[in-house]
Symmetry: C2
Subunit: 569 residues, 2 copies
C-alpha cells in the first residue's frame, strides 16, 4: 500500500487538474485510489475496541463553523484542510479485506440513505461535468473487521458498542457501528458558498458512554400510523439512539394484532382494521429499526394498565365490586385464576417469537389496589396466601409467576421500578427502569446496590411540556450523580426519553419529540464532561436544521432560522 | 311558491322512487325543486339583520351524536329527520332573486371549497348510479339580499356581522356571511354507517357575539412560509375567525419587502430571497383571506421592537452610548430626527396602499428607555421639550407624530395598550389591544371608560404552553367580566389569540395553534351562556377530527382517536 500512496501523492497538485475524461482508464483508477488514500488520513474509524488508540487525537478540537456534530464524539481532531465531494463521483465502497460486502443489505441500505442525506436526491452517474480538483474526496471506504460482521443479526445490549469508530476510512468491528459512523460522516459534510459539498480533514474516535439509549413511544393512548413510527426511527438514528421502547398497549387501546388472541385487538383497538399493527407492520418496524442499529423492545404492561385487554379476553381482568355485587367495571389482571397464567403463557410465547430482541418489557407500574380490595374472591385468596392486607404482596405474587413464564421463553425482561421496590425476585440480567421523579438518586443507589442493571427515564418525560427551552433541563441531567461504588455506576446502562401519548398523535408527535430528545441523546452518548450549554446550543441549533433539511419537522430551539426551512405543513 | 311546495310534497313518498333517469326532464326539474323546497324548512339563513326572527327556533337543542358544531350557533333547532346527500347530484346554487351570481368568484370559490370538504375529492358528474331516495337533499340555495352583495369588497369591522344567517336555504345579506354559513352547513353533514353523507333537518339562526375575532401570527422571530400562513387562514375560516393580525416584522427580522425601502428586507430579513414576503405574496395572503371573510391587519410595531429595521435604514434607530461615546448598538426608533418622520411618512404611505384593510396596527409596546437615556442628543431634546426625566413623554411624542402621519393616509389604527396608558391623544375610532395579564379588568374599564374600542388578547397568549388541557383556561375567559356600563361593554369588540414566534415555525405552528385557538373562537362567537366545559369538550373533540380530516394537523385534546387520522408526518 505504501508504494501506492507514494505514487498517488506524486500525482497530486494544488491546482485543478482539468477534465478527468482526458485521463486514460488506468490513470483514472490510480487517481481515485490516490484520493481515497489521501482521505485515509482525514476521517477514519479504528479497527477494534476500546483498547486501541488513535495517535495524536486531541479531544474536542474546534470545529469549523459550518459543521455541527451531535452527539459530540468522544475524541476528534479537525483541520482547515477541506476536500470537495462530487455527487457524480463520490462512492461509499467496501474496503479490501472487509468481512462485509455488497450482499450485506444493511450496509447497502445505509449507503443509499446517507448518500441521499449528503447529496439530496441528485444521483447522476456518468462522466464528470466539471473540472476535477485535487482536493476531492472520491471514496469513503468501509472496513468491517469482525469475522462475523453481524449483517443479518439484530442489535442487542451485548453488541459491544464501546468499540471505537471514526469516520475516509470508516472502520468498524461489526456493521451497526458503520451505520453510526455514516451519520457522523454525513454531519461533517457542509456546503461552501458555491453550494459545493465539503468535508474537512478530521479524525474521529467514537463510542457511546451508555449502551442503552432509548425513546419510548406510546401507541395506546393515541394510535400512531406506521409512517410516524418509521420516521421517528429515522430521526433516532440521526441522534444515535439505539432502543425503541414500544409501549404498544395500555388501558386506552390494544392495537397489537395477536395471532393467538386476535380478539384482543378486534375488540380492544380503537378500530380493528385502521388502528392496529398487523404482524407485517410489526416486522417492518423491527427490520426498519435493525437497518439503523436500533433494538425494538416491546412493552406489554401488566397487571395494571390493562383495561383494553379485557374487552377481547373474558375473565382476564378482576371484576370490581360495589358492596356485595359486581359493579360491572374491571380492575387489574385477575391474579388468582389459573386461566390468567394459561393466557399469559400462550400470549408471551407469541410475543417472544414476534419480537426479536432478547428483552421484553413487562411493565408492572402503577397498580391500583382498590378493585382488588373490593372483590371477595380476591379477599379470600389474600387470606389463604397469608398476605394480610398487603396488596403489594398480591401484585408481587402475580409478577413473580409472570416472570417465570417469560423466563421460560428464553427472553430477558425489563420492568418499571415498582417491581423492584416490591421485592419481587428478579433474574440477574433484569433491567429496572427508574421513572419516579421523587428520590431518583436513592432508587438508583438501591437498584444498583442490589446488583441490578438499570436505566433512567425519570428526568426525561418529554410529554411534560413547558414554555421555553426545556431541552436544557434534560441536557443537564447527570445519570451517575448518585452515591455508589464504581461497580454500581457501571450497572447504569443508559436511559430513555419517554413521550407518553395522552397529548400526542401523528399531528404533533415529531416536532414535540425533536430536538428535545436530542438533548438526551448527547447526554447518553458523549463524555460526561460534555456539558457546556452554550456550545450545546450552537451545535444543537445546527443539528436541528440538519434534521429539518432531511424533511423532519424538528421544532426550533429559539428565535432564528434554517437555510432550508421545513417544507411540509 | 306555495303551490309549488304543495305540488312537490304530493310527489314525495317515504320509499325509494326508482331511478330518476326514468323521469322526464320536466319531472326531474319538478322533483329537484320539490326537494329543495322541502329542504327550505330544514336549514336556512334569514334574509336580514338582527331584528328579524325565525319562528319556533329553540336555543341549543340536542344535536345528533355524529354532528359537532363549533363554534356553537346562537340559535338552532334540529330533528331526527335525515336527508341524504349524493356527491353526483348535490349542488350549491344561486337562488332566484339573489343579488350575487356565478360571476361572484368569492362565492364560487367557497362553493368549491365546501363541496370538497363535504364530499372529499369525489366529484362525479353524470347519471346517478344508485337509487334515489325521497329524503335526499339535492340543492343548497344561496340567496344574497343586499343590493350590494360586496362580492369584491374587503371584509371590514363595519361589515355588519350581526346579520343573522342560518343554513337548505342559505340566505345572507352579503356574501361573506354565506361563507360562514357554508362552514356551518358542512359541519352539519355526517356519514352514516354506510358512509353516506347525511344531514338532519335543522334550523339555524346565527351571528357572532363579537365582531373582531383574531389570530396573531409572528413572522419575524421565525419566518413562516406562505403555505403555512394560507393553511392557517383556512383553519381560521373553519373556526369563524375573521381577523388575521399579521405581526409581520420585529427585532429579529424584517421579511416584508417594501418597494419604497427595499433595503429593509434586503438587509433585515433572515435571507433577502428565501425569507421575505414579496408584494405578490402579500397580495395573495390578502386575497386568500378575503375569500374566507378574513381581514388582514398588518402590524408595523414602532418605536421598540425595531432592531431589524436598523440594518437597512441608516439613522433610523437611536445610537446607544457607553459613557460619552456611541457603543455601536442601537435602541428604539430615533424620535428626535426629522428624517425619522420623513421615513415613516413614505413608509406608511406604501403600507396603507399595500394592505387593503381600513386599519393598521402600529404597535407601541415595550419600549426600553435605557438607550434613549444614554444618548446625549436625546437628553438635550428632552430638556428642550421640557419632558424632564419622563421618557414615556418622549415615547408619546413619537407616537403622536406617527399617528398623525398614519391618519393622513386615511387609515384607522390599532395600538397595544401602552399607547393608551401613556395618554397619547388617540382618534376616536382607535382600537386599543389589551395584552398585559396584570390588571386586565382595570385596563378594560379604563380604556372603555375613555370611550375607546378595545380588543382583548391578554388571556390568550397561546405561545405559553403547558402540560394538559390548557384550552379550558382559554375557554373560561369572559371578556366582559369587568366593571362597566353597558355602553362600555359594547366597546369591547372582540379579542385575539396570539401565537408569538419565539418557539414556533413551520415545523410546529399548526398543531400548537389548533385546536387551542378554537376555544377562543367559540368564546368570541357564541353566546356568553355557552360555557359548559363538558359539552365543549365533546364538540371540540369532534371539531378537531373534522379539521384533521380536512388535512390539518390539529393536535389531540386528550386520549382518543379520530375515524380518519392525520396522514401527514
Amino acid at each position: 500500500m505504501t508504494s501506492l500512496i507514494h505514487d498517488a501523492s506524486a500525482a497530486l497538485t494544488e491546482r485543478p487538474s482539468g477534465h478527468t475524461s482526458q485521463l486514460s482508464e488506468q490513470g483514472k483508477a490510480v487517481r481515485m485510489r490516490a484520493l481515497t488514500l489521501l482521505g485515509l488520513g482525514t476521517l477514519f474509524l479504528t479497527t477494534s475496541c476500546k483498547d486501541s488508540h488513535i495517535d495524536n487525537l486531541e479531544e474536542r478540537s474546534r470545529l469549523s463553523d459550518e459543521v455541527s456534530l451531535w452527539p459530540l464524539p468522544q475524541q476528534f481532531q479537525t483541520s482547515p484542510v477541506a476536500f470537495k465531494l462530487s455527487a457524480s463521483r463520490f462512492k461509499i465502497v467496501h474496503a479490501p479485506g472487509s468481512t462485509a460486502g455488497p450482499s450485506c443489505s444493511l450496509l447497502q441500505n445505509a449507503f443509499r440513505r446517507y448518500f441521499k442525506y449528503i447529496f439530496g436526491y441528485v444521483n447522476e452517474q456518468g462522466q464528470p461535468r466539471s473540472r476535477v480538483f485535487d482536493s476531492e474526496l472520491r471514496e469513503l471506504q468501509v472496513l468491517i473487521t469482525s469475522t462475523d460482521p453481524e449483517c443479518d443479526a439484530y442489535p442487542s445490549l451485548k453488541t459491544d458498542e464501546s468499540c471505537k469508530f471514526a469516520v475516509v476510512f470508516l472502520t468498524a468491528f461489526v456493521v451497526v457501528f458503520v451505520v453510526l459512523g455514516l451519520e457522523t460522516f454525513s454531519q461533517l459534510v457542509y456546503e461552501d458558498d458555491y453550494g459545493v459539498n465539503n468535508i474537512n480533514k478530521t479524525s474521529i474516535l467514537d463510542y457511546p458512554r451508555f449502551s442503552h439509549r432509548g425513546i419510548l413511544l406510546d401507541t395506546s393512548r393515541h394510535y400512531l400510523p406506521l409512517k410516524v413510527i418509521l420516521a421517528n426511527l429515522e430521526v433516532m438514528a440521526m441522534n444515535k439512539f439505539n432502543v425503541f421502547h414500544w409501549h404498544i398497549v395500555d388501558d386506552s387501546s390494544f392495537p397489537f394484532l395477536s395471532r393467538t388472541f386476535p380478539n384482543l385487538s378486534q375488540q380492544g383497538a380503537y378500530h380493528p382494521y385502521t388502528h392496529v399493527y398487523t404482524p407485517v407492520d410489526v416486522k417492518s418496524v423491527i427490520e426498519f429499526a435493525r437497518m439503523r442499529g436500533i433494538r425494538v423492545i416491546a412493552e406489554f404492561d401488566t397487571p395494571g394498565h390493562t383495561q383494553s385487554w379485557g374487552k377481547g379476553q373474558t375473565d382476564l381482568l378482576t371484576p370490581c365490586y360495589s358492596g356485595s355485587s359486581p359493579s360491572g367495571t374491571f380492575g387489574p389482571v385477575n391474579p388468582i385464576l389459573n386461566s390468567t397464567y394459561d393466557f399469559m403463557t400462550s400470549f408471551f410465547k407469541e410475543i417472544s417469537s414476534v419480537f426479536a430482541d432478547a428483552y421484553i418489557h413487562l411493565g408492572g407500574d402503577e397498580v391500583d389496589f382498590s378493585c382488588w380490595k373490593s372483590n371477595p374472591d380476591i379477599q379470600k385468596f389474600m387470606e389463604q396466601q397469608g398476605f394480610g392486607q398487603d396488596y403489594s404482596k398480591l401484585e408481587s405474587y402475580y409478577i413473580q409467576r409472570l416472570l417465570d413464564i417469560v423466563s421460560s421463553t428464553k427472553k430477558g425482561y425489563m420492568v418499571w421500578q415498582e417491581v423492584f421496590d416490591n421485592e419481587v425476585k428478579l433474574k440477574g440480567d433484569t433491567v429496572v427502569e427508574v421513572w419516579k421523579m421523587n428520590m431518583v438518586e436513592e432508587e438508583l443507589q438501591n437498584v444498583t446496590g442490589a446488583g441490578f442493571t438499570t436505566i433512567l427515564s425519570a428526568p426525561w418525560y418529554l410529554d411534560y411540556i413547558s414554555y421555553g427551552q426545556d431541552w436544557k433541563n434534560y441536557y443537564k441531567v447527570e445519570p451517575l450523580s448518585f452515591n455508589g461504588t464504581p461497580e454500581q455506576k457501571k450497572l447504569v446502562i443508559g436511559g430513555e426519553a419517554c413521550l407518553w401519548g395522552e397529548y400526542v398523535d401523528a399531528t404533533n408527535l415529531t416536532p414535540r419529540l425533536w430536538p428535545r430528545a436530542s438533548a438526551v441523546a448527547e447526554r447518553l452518548w458523549s463524555d460526561e464532561n460534555v456539558k457546556d450549554i452554550g456550545s450545546a446550543y450552537s451545535r444543537l441549533e445546527k443539528h436541528r436544521c440538519h434534521m429539518v433539511r432531511r424533511g423532519i419537522p424538528a421544532e426550533p430551539l429559539f428565535v432564528g432560522h434554517c437555510g432550508h426551512e421545513y417544507s411540509g405543513l
